[in-house]
């Protein structure tokens, strides 16, 4: 697997403000990578460096094996980009705008453009200034995918989309990925990343605090587990088990939170007669919140 996005020791300062610091990241070909972080954590700064809109204070960035600064136009020929808070030419209609990009990019498959527009039920014949936030976002999505790029970089892509269109967007991302494209999505919405991405990078206050496969990360998740036994049990029995925190006993029920493997807990419980086990899946949201609390 080759690295499609490679970020080495990337730091960006604005005067004394540190926007991002010492970021190292590789996104491999064929991945759907989620870049997760709250607003203001440095997601957009990272992305705008990939596009060469801003220049690193320190560090080197390469995209598709090309230098982000020297080869920027070549890079941008091969990628699709959806800016966060997209601003479009308000006087144009969607069709005019997409035709304009067709001109700039030199010849696209116009049928595919129309297919995308139909898929998102995008209104491309009205001036863009008359469109709602979500409808503008659709035009933004179309222009990011319309030239079948090798890599699609999107900053908060579902911003303003209604739930139906979000689903359509997820399908489009998955299809495009199956055809071989690499996808890089920044978002602050955990379920979205969980739904789409194979790998996730978590950024906090300008620093990348974790890069891991979503499945592995889930294993590390805090899970809430409840055992119901046939008779009352004592709290002490479970409190000292590895990974177990927040033990509560209510009559015959034991509620606890566990981090990591559940093996020891299950074995301890099996000394008693277990009536019922309720366990939630490790969910990314909790991991995410955990990272931010810590």
């Amino acid at each position: 697997m080759d690295s499609v996005i490679s970020i080495r020791n990337l730091t960006k300062n604005y005067g004394k403000n540190v926007a991002i610091q010492g970021i190292n990241l590789d996104v491999m070909r064929g991945e759907i990578f989620g870049y997760l972080g709250p607003n203001g954590s440095g997601k957009t700064t990272t992305i705008r460096t990939l596009l060469d809109f801003i220049r690193p204070t320190k560090g080197v960035v390469s995209v598709l094996g090309l230098d982000s600064r020297a080869d920027s136009a070549q890079i941008r020929k091969r990628i699709g980009y959806l800016p966060g808070d997209i601003a479009l030419y308000e006087k144009m209609t969607g069709r005019q705008l997409l035709k304009y990009i067709d001109g700039l990019r030199g010849g696209l498959d116009w049928n595919f453009v129309i297919q995308l527009a139909e898929r998102f039920e995008a209104n491309i014949d009205q001036p863009i200034r008359t469109l709602s936030r979500g409808n503008k976002q659709k035009i933004g999505l179309i222009q990011a995918f319309m030239h079948a790029p090798e890599l699609v970089i999107m900053d908060e892509p579902t911003n303003g989309l209604d739930p139906l269109m979000q689903q359509e967007f997820y399908r489009l991302v998955e299809e495009t990925n199956k055809k071989g494209a690499t996808i890089f999505i920044s978002s602050h919405i955990v379920p979205e990343i969980e739904r789409l991405c194979s790998k996730v990078g978590i950024i906090r206050k300008g620093e990348l605090v974790a890069v891991e496969e979503v499945e592995k990360l889930k294993e590390k998740a805090l899970r809430k587990i409840t055992f119901v036994f046939d008779m009352p049990i004592s709290k002490e029995e479970f409190e000292s088990l590895p990974g177990v925190i927040d033990v509560e006993v209510e009559g015959t029920a034991l509620k606890c939170t566990i981090k990591g493997p559940v093996d020891a807990l299950v074995k301890a419980a099996s000394w008693h007669k277990v009536i019922k086990i309720i366990s939630d899946d490790g969910n990314l949201e909790e991991i995410f919140l955990d990272f931010y609390a810590g």
Binding site: R48, F53, I54, A73, R76, D85, Y89, Q96, G103, L104
Partner: protein, 268 residues
Amino acid sequence: MMLRNVFVKSLWDQKRSLVWWCLGIGLMIIITMLFYPSIREMTELNEIFATDENPLMKVFVGDITDITSPEGFVNSQLLIFMVPLLYLVFAIGIGSGSIAGEEEKGTLDFLLAHPLTRESVIVQKFLAMNFAVAWIGVFAWASLVIGAAIVDMEIGYSRLAAATFSGVLLGITYGGIAFLFGAAFGKRSLSIGITGALGIGGYLLNVLGPIVGWLEPFTKISPFYYYSSSDPLANGLDWSHMAVLLVVILLMGGMAILSFRRRDLAVG
């Protein structure tokens, strides 16, 4: 209309504004020209202008001694103040917004998501600004020709063209300054402010220079000096003066490229 590149798209953005400016400048010129027959007969006006009693008047009509001649009339009523003022306002409006306007609206991120170099964006937008000002110039010239024909003024079309050309270059010079500041700092109001001040300064320097002795040597740093001191309407173009304006224009474009390609772009 097919918008295939940034140059055409930039002009397309200006299409309404261009129509109104052409209409406005055209009407203003023709209406002013209609007054010529009544001025032509009033030779006593020349005596008023010939005296040095009211030097401040020269700030707005120029150093005119013969307002009843065709050249004197057109220069004093149109070319000294009103017409270049309009070129400047128009050119500064476009120049300041070319890069900074898109950057402030946030559309620059969108545009540069596609395979264009920053240099190419600058060059195309700069040329579009040049073209738009020249377009206004063509209408101004046509209006001068039409106005002259209506009032039966004896003045050569080519001399009117020479004066217009000089004015267009003056407009583009200031448009270029505004373009540079917009490209370098990404702030439209800053660009308008600085260039507007330079415009007023340049104008005053050029008209006050001949009146206020100690200012005289400095008039040559004013673009207005190269626009009007050779009186293209009476004498045709002084190419050495035009060359100065052209060099300044090229310099502004070149510096815009240098400053724009090295800086960070702002988010909308």
